[in-house]
């Protein structure tokens, strides 16, 4: 699925629509440059799970941010990860395919996860964003 977002609100809405289809154990890999709107997209996913949007901020500092919901949301941000050793000691793998939904920013910093939904956000001229979602069944 491919769509164009003209504002942070539309990016959030796209996250919300995807969030509604996600189930416990699902993993969403987010790809996109600095400032493309990855965290904004996560705010949308969180919103669909009933998590207050204000609770979602950048997770770059703590790498993993847990949010209680049914199912819980694990907001993961690999921006600061530089090596495979870092990745393992942060405990990221414990959160994938577990009891919650794992959404991973800067997913290119880890080996490809099988059975993951892939979301790529590209910055277009004129402040537009192209959002490409793969691995999720299309709406009937």
């Amino acid at each position: 699925m491919r769509l164009i977002s003209k504002s942070p609100r539309e990016t959030k809405d796209a996250g919300k629509r995807l969030g509604r289809k996600l189930r416990a154990g699902d993993t969403v890999c987010l790809y996109g440059d600095l400032g493309s709107g990855k965290t904004t997209f996560v705010k949308g996913v969180a919103g669909s799970l009933g998590i207050p949007e204000r609770e979602i901020a950048s997770a770059s500092f703590t790498i993993i941010s847990e949010h209680e919901a049914k199912p819980p949301l694990y907001h993961i941000d690999l921006y600061r990860i530089d090596s495979e050793a870092d990745l393992e000691t942060t405990g990221v793998y414990d959160y994938i395919g577990g009891d919650g939904i794992a959404v991973i920013e800067w997913a290119e910093k880890m080996p490809e996860t099988e059975v993951a939904v892939r979301v790529a956000i590209n910055i277009f001229p004129g402040d537009e964003r192209e959002i490409v979602i793969e691995g999720m069944e299309e709406d009937p």
Binding site: D33, L34, G35, T39, T40, R54, A57, S58, S60, F61, T62, I63, I64, S65, E66, Y79, R80, I81, D82, S83, A85, D86, T89, T90, G91, I123, D127
Partner: protein
Amino acid sequence: MLILGVDTSCDDTAASLLSAEDGNIEIVSNVVSSQTAVHSKYGGIVPELASRKHLEMIWPVVEEAMSGIGLDKLDAFSVCHGPGLIGSLLVGCSFAKAVCYSTGTPLVSVNHLEGHVLSAFLENPIPEFPFLSLIVSGGHTCLYRVEGFMKYTELGRTRDDAAGEAYDKVSKLLGLGYPGGMQIERLAKEGNPKAIKFPRAYLPGTLDFSFSGLKTAVKLALGSQGLSPAGGMATRDIAASFQSSVIDVLVRKAEWAIKKTRIKRLALSGGVASNSALRERMKEMAEDKEVELYAPRPALCTDNAAMIAFAGYRHFLANDIAGLDLNPKAHLPL
């Protein structure tokens, strides 16, 4: 009494010994792994984020902080149990629990943010309550109303990136090194803060912050001008213009908080509070508004364990002792 503080919440392993009596404190030692020779003793490059690094550093850092005094001479052990990286926090907490179990020393647990709030008073007397506290660091940007020790009310926080995180990310965009704060501050001194009109997210009606849009604006400005990340006039101007946007927002939000709460005492702390341009602008605002401003010296702005020992001392005085079943938490609101 002697109290040891330990903080392993993020990249640095920190330990500090405090001597305290009747509410007065004296810093006996203050050791941070990244700033001492401890690091070089072990040589080699260790992954910054790895909890394994904390495991290697915790003993030598604590030993240096104890300055030859035995751990059995401690009257309390204060450890930071969050917020932070869970694997890193675990090292500090497990170490503290093991020492307290074997020596019978009372264990006290402290929120990292509480440490930052009180860091402004490690070397200044505590002002009259209530006061406002603005913490600006790589992981946090938040504003509190402090009614007393252990009585904190959040007035605002960042909705996306922390101010220090914006510095680090912009520094990377400009091809500068880490930590970004120091690099940008240095470059900004030579640049024109009015060269580029970057956005300022004041978020009227709230005391929340947002720095994500600023980061994006810097990225877009770089793209449109096709700048190479290698030095030059434009990089200086971008650094200066970016910094002036961050400082404008922080100062104005502090001003709004003062106006809204009518509290005329403000503490400024966290790593970004070591930025001299921010300190200068905040000082001007405070003088203009007749506000008492408290800021620790730069070395106590960044992560340290003296602030953890100090906050732990207040918990100890309040008889707030932690159990040996203490567990660290990555997400821990103050």
